[in-house]
Symmetry: D4
């Protein structure tokens, strides 16, 4: 099959889960393209004022940046076949849950990735997912299976 | 205007913000219908096993309940004109952020309601909102204004 | 809440499951409207030739009838909030599975109703459902819960 | 015309109908890409527990697998121009009828493939199809005709 | 069932077929609302210039009128559940075929109504229809059956 | 016909065109509901800061207000059958042209209302309209004709 | 610009208008792909029975063929950017008007091509078009202009 | 990432802002394709009569041209990921605001580009934008950031 599968990797930016998924699929011949938000935390937080000018008020500082980031995330999620959403153990990560809801309303296939101790808190997000993984390697296995029957 | 406005109140179920919004609009003649998820915490957590049978595994216990709850929330959000999303100071509230993302992809008008100290953590959600409120009374003012020019 | 919930009851027409669901909700004040296909087997099989003229060939006999029946089923499924799909122990019931797939692609909430011994054969249909019931009374409980928090 | 036609081959996995269709088109210069579900029966049944961990309960064993398989089938059906649905003489094949309903709601062109003795049982599915074939070779003829005017 | 069925009656305006359908359903308790284009031929032809000012050029005379008529027909077809399209023996009636194509792309259920000698010329339109009738009374029978199981 | 027609009146708020349209239809029995943006200029400009708190920066002052106003305009345009867009001789009125583009992408029927000396400047907007009027009375005539064949 | 423009050429199959359009664009570097229905009249009429078996009844003979042809036409119109619809002086050509209605509901840009003496009969179709041409060379000029600013 | 980003540049055609954006991105390896309306003012104004024949009436002169131009603009905006809308200091530029509304209803990411003295007049358009720029170089910075994290 010649189709390229677009897989958007949403959520946590403080561990190497994206790299582990990419590494896991490189050994294969999977025709997959990984998409992601801007993962440089400082850049992501400050892009609005860096490009469009400083703000005195924190709210507008954040607002300008978040709207620019949304250009990228919205377009890439809309072009994705599968959206993997990772929840880590730090921060509130409401953007990850927002992405999951956004993807769900678009009818995308969602795969979540988190530790079992988040099961109860994430039950609504997991209920919208096609698979709930605990390790990046499980995500790789799913991609290999659904793309290559492997 | 004879249109009934459907307003879905998503999020926190441990404070009286829904009641304050309803009370604030009762004094007016606003033609508004408030919709909400099941707000009884215990019932919401256990509806799956209570109706469809017990599960040994916590994951499936939560999963069965979350999927039944999603019947209600998805249908009501789809029928809403405006989705108000409240973030409180307890719990992770990923379901609220999920609802916001879901509503955003459907093109609904979103109003968020939270304290200023959550501004940075909620910047992606606020970026998708038409208004960011700090008090239920501000939500009431917005409803009065957009529905009745008042 | 003043919303009327439309619930389409798809599938088996040889047992009293529809009546049991209706009876179960009549004792309540649920604002629900039940929709269904034509459930008179003979009429349903022969409506095409009865209205539009006889056919020598069985294929066209069936085809004319099935297309007229599809007018009703398609319109009612599209207007439904929830689609309950019942699989019994007789016949192949491919139309029930077809309805489930149709409803799923439209983003409807699906509830299946069948005996546990059909679990393996129905796994793809159940995977698209928000709840899997074994008795009409469980369906009633779900409706009471999602509509009335009861 | 430089368009590649995507043709999804849904249904029966116990006869060689997919190979016969592929072989029939290889002799031609048809620009067609055939898509299919995972056709390894054992893998398909067990993918959920094999990747995400064992389940004591058969229902969840099946459920986890069916949801992962749905990632593939849903994405590929959505990307298809034509969906061919094959019904054989074994098993209940509710997944094939589900796929047909799903494809129909998306407005895909459906071609069914089955023996005449299934005509009555499949009348609702055939009523949603653009063509009803009895042999894989007829499917090949249709593809040659609609793609190449041949 | 409390649903009102909207039935749009498109096409020929020189015979009494609309009246025969309405009369046929009045004897019943069918909850049906009949919609139609403006059926006064002269008014329909001249509405553009009558309201918006005369045109020297016939093309613009027709164009202004046709665009105003399209306001009505497009809105009513979009709100219809069933679109009945009548082809008579006079005029070219391209607007009727246009309505049928428009309704088909919107996924409406189409019923055609014409004499058998138009079968070959109308084969593409009939191929998109759920039923092909020869008399208004057959249309009435279909409405009674699909709405009331009668 | 029992359908209520929703007609959104977009644009100029400094002349009495909305009142003239409403008066013109009151003499008739037209079942029409007129929708409109907030037409109190000062309120509309200041609603953001009045409800959500003052801003030092004019840009954010305007931004907060415009986003709240968009809740009303977007919801009402989406619920409209016909969108009348009025361009007067003062101000730049980019919001009116924005509304027209928004309505056009949603497939709404658009009627424009402006003096002939704006014809060249408004040619792209008029090209998306079903009718181009110069007086509110012409709009009334169109509504009477398309709703009541009058 | 690297976009390939898909242009579907619908309607009359008894004159050389398609060839004249293709020839007219070959001299240019337009990146355009022309799509069309099967234009072999006999093949088009008989494809149903030729592939799927003979029918005694003319209606089903035509029906089987028309449904197979619709696979091609529907898929290609859906993939088109521009739909050119040609009406000649022979036959009733209801399929051409049907295609125009279908394309219109999908929001495609429509260009009609016909002699001025058909203006009145085609006013509803022309009202849905972006341009009304009398010669294939005008269609070529439009393609050159909209694709290449030429 | 191998995705090509389509960026539509709408609005003002009398300054070099498009060239400055293109130049700014050429130094980078951004995989971006810029789309635009026909920017030759005279050609754009006269394309209708030049191709389809002269008109005595200015309204129809403009109308024929505007509808042909809409073929290009509508198709390109629909294929765009990002729509940049430029407002200059001359002309009324209602077409630019119309494009912005059209793009907004389609869910496109909008970036506006204008001087601060237009802030109040453009507040409704800016409220629908993800970013509000004052210089073409800021647009370039946004493209580099959202496409390349740069």
């Amino acid at each position: 099959m010649s189709k390229t599968w677009n897989v958007y990797l949403s959520g946590e930016i403080h561990s190497d889960w994206r790299e582990r998924i990419k590494k896991g699929t490189q050994a294969t011949s999977l025709d997959v393209e990984f998409l992601a938000p801007v993962t440089d935390h400082a850049k992501s937080d400050n892009c609005g004022v860096a490009i469009l000018g400083a703000e005195d008020n924190n709210f507008w500082h954040d607002h300008k940046g978040a709207k620019i980031n949304a250009i990228r995330t919205r377009i890439l999620i809309e072009s994705a076949d599968i959206v993997v959403v990772r929840f880590g153990d730090k921060y509130r990560q409401w953007n990850a849950a927002f992405d999951a809801g956004f993807a769900s309303a678009l009818g995308k296939s969602i795969v979540t990735l988190h530790d079992p101790d988040l099961t109860h808190a994430l039950k609504e997000v997991d209920a919208a997912a096609q698979a709930v993984c605990q390790t990046p390697e499980q995500v790789v296995e799913i991609l290999k299976y659904v793309i290559q029957q492997d």
